[in-house]
């Protein structure tokens, strides 16, 4: 029963979703939004599972004094601190006229968001620029025919995206060779490749979904295969 019930729920939900794509009439027409609401509700409750798990693992690291326990301590302090400040702002905001939410501009919580969270996120995102450079360096090394083709395509696409390259060849020809070739690569070979991948993905999703709906694939519910 422990496996049969989840499989039954999966099968029913999967079939209802598939049918609702073709049948707009109620109850099928509304099923997508109903299931969407359920997912949101379940996810909202599940947040606590994650938060408690994070605290449990972190406290274990601190009490066992594992190698990276200071990081665990920072996590606990940050989590509890943010929570406390949010609660404090929310509580004190209720007493004000008009009432102020903890997320409104000017609150302590807002300060944490703007001056700690946002710069930290931006820092992580900014690192992408350096990683793109190091990954490109490796990817564009002309080790074989494919890598050489990639290098040539990359050269023209990057060259075609800035006016400098077309300007450099302007004494020879007025025709914008770089931007034309970059557009050609992006419009034809790139689009064709992307579409081939997308078609494969769509078929893969269909096949996977069918395996799950039929109960052949059960790994995701801890049941192994068929």
């Amino acid at each position: 029963m422990r496996r049969q019930i989840p499989i039954l729920i999966t099968t029913i939900a999967g079939l209802v979703f598939a049918i609702s794509y073709f049948i707009p009439h109620d109850p099928f027409g509304e099923s997508e939004s109903i299931f969407g609401d359920w997912i949101t509700i379940v996810q909202a409750f599940a947040v606590w599972l994650g938060a408690l798990n994070l605290l449990k693992i972190s406290f274990e690291k601190i009490s066992n004094k594992t190698a990276d326990w200071p990081y665990a301590a920072i996590i606990v302090v940050s989590l509890m601190g943010t929570l406390a400040i949010g609660f404090y702002d929310g509580y004190s905001g209720m007493a004000q006229d008009p009432q102020v939410s903890f997320r409104d501009p000017g609150t302590n919580f807002d300060w944490l968001y703007r001056f700690i969270y946002t710069p930290l996120s931006a820092t992580m995102f900014s690192m992408l620029a350096f990683f793109v450079a190091s990954a490109s360096y490796r990817a564009f090394r002309a080790r074989n025919v494919q890598a050489t083709l990639l290098l040539i395509a990359g050269f023209f696409v990057m060259g075609g995206r800035v006016p400098l390259f077309d300007m450099m060849i302007s004494p020879i020809t007025d025709f914008p060779v770089f931007s034309w070739f970059a557009d050609w690569i992006m419009t034809y070979p790139n689009t064709a490749g992307q579409r081939a991948i997308m078609i494969g993905i769509a078929l893969g999703i269909m096949s996977s979904s069918l395996r799950i709906i039929l109960g052949i694939e059960r790994s995701h519910i801890g049941g192994g295969s068929g």
Binding site: I197, L203, M206, S207, S225
Partner: protein
């Protein structure tokens, strides 16, 4: 050269005179402009007055039908343009009026801009019948600056009643294709069940899973498994958890530490169940520890930062990235590459694939992610489903070839088959 004092005075005087003349010129210009504006303003009521008595000619051939292929509650109204709607400003738009009785009273259901020939009224009740009329209208400001609207005559059309349909005919061809692929998958699953040999091409990335787990075992280091940043309602995450089950079995057999940091609470629970099942299957349920699957954060870059930290500190021998990834894909993969880990990635996010290809040792591209679990299981029924999927791919290839030929012959009518709304 240094300016002497008399010269300086002379120059200052010149500058002052020049500035004064500029001021005078600009004053003249602005005065002239003001005068022109005044003339325009005076002319405006005249122009408006010209059009005051001219109501636009009505729209014709007005039709109201139940909106097809919907969930009810909508009526589709179409008409032919008013002869005055020729872009010369005699028509500002169309008013769609609705009533439950042919004689009215009518209320405005909505407006359509000039040049429009259709309108969907999304606020109907399926239990009631409605009558519609479409009035072309002209709007202008009168001399007092008040908005004035004059409308054309209009004929009433109806009755019409909205209703929900039991099948969306726009998606008929999708259904036919779905039935073909599903039929092919079922056919090959049945064939596999009977014991027929199913040939599946080798997928290097999946074959390397054994090697990757073995390497971690030999080095006595950890394996990290990153299941993406989407929740369990994403099919990529489901596929990822299915692969995790297979990887966990190998890790349990080799007694290698497999760590799964997740970014969603529901993935935490599911991944833990999949791991428990895998460890039980190889007879080592006691080897699994709670801390192997742990939650980090829902935040995209917070998650990336936490995993980067773990990779740099713990230097795992093997890292799997399987699931849905966004901008964090390259941040994670490059960090893994920098510590010399063998990396296997798989995603169905086309924009992230080049990053994984550049930074990882093996990459499962798109459909391979979904095939991986079946491929690793070597179970005939699962392999049969992959074969059926290939039949769908064959149909797509055939359609593309036919489409190219038809497009070359300038025949476009068949393209409607591939349009789904």
């Amino acid at each position: 050269m240094r300016l002497s004092s008399p010269n300086l005075t002379h120059n200052c005087l010149k500058i002052a005179l020049f500035t004064l003349s500029l001021l005078l010129i600009s004053l003249n210009v602005s005065t002239a402009q003001d005068a022109e504006t005044a003339v325009d303003t005076a002319a405006a009521p005249e122009q408006a007055a010209d059009s005051v008595n001219i109501a636009p000619l009505p729209a014709s051939n007005i039709k109201a039908i139940d909106l097809p292929n919907d969930n009810g509650g909508a009526v589709f109204i179409s008409w032919e343009l008013s002869p005055d709607d020729d872009g010369n400003g005699k028509v500002s738009g169309y008013l769609v009026q609705r009533s439950e009785s042919k004689d009215g009273p009518f209320e405005t259901a909505g407006k359509a801009v000039r040049g429009a020939t259709k309108f969907t009224d999304n606020k109907t009740n399926d239990d009631k019948i409605y009558f519609y009329k479409v009035e072309a209208y002209l709007e202008y400001l009168d001399a007092a600056g008040e908005k004035v609207r004059i409308t054309s005559a209009a004929t009433v059309t109806g009755p019409v009643q909205s209703s929900a349909q039991w099948f969306n005919m726009n998606r008929l061809y999708v259904l036919l294709f779905l039935l073909f692929v599903a039929g092919a998958i079922m056919f090959y699953i049945e064939k596999a069940k009977k014991g027929d040999e199913i040939y599946i091409r080798k997928i290097a990335g999946i074959d390397a899973v054994d090697e990757a787990v073995g390497r971690a075992t030999e080095m006595g280091k950890k394996i990290f498994y990153i299941p993406g940043i989407q929740d369990m309602n994403d099919v990529q995450t489901i596929a990822s958890i299915a692969i995790l089950g297979r990887v966990a079995q190998m890790a349990a057999e080799y007694d290698t530490w497999l760590e799964v940091p997740v970014s969603k609470s529901m993935v935490l629970v599911t991944a833990r169940e999949a791991m428990k099942e895998a460890y039980t299957k190889v007879g080592r349920p006691d080897a699994l520890q709670d801390s192997q699957v742990h939650y980090l954060t829902d935040d995209q870059f917070g998650y990336a930062a936490a995993i980067d930290g773990m990779i740099v500190r713990e230097k795992p021998a093997t890292i799997f990235y399987m699931g849905a990834f966004f901008a964090e894909s390259l941040i994670l993969a490059e960090t893994g590459n920098s510590v010399g880990a063998i990396q296997i990635a798989g995603t169905a996010m086309p924009a992230q694939l080049p990053f994984f290809v550049a930074a990882c040792d093996y990459t499962l591209i798109g459909e391979e992610l979904f095939a991986a679990s079946a491929y690793l299981s070597r179970e005939p029924r699962q392999l049969g489903s992959l074969k059926g999927q290939d039949m769908g791919k064959g149909l797509f290839i055939l359609c593309i070839i036919v489409g190219v030929i038809l497009a070359t012959l300038n025949i476009w009518d068949m393209s409607v088959i591939f349009v789904s709304r």
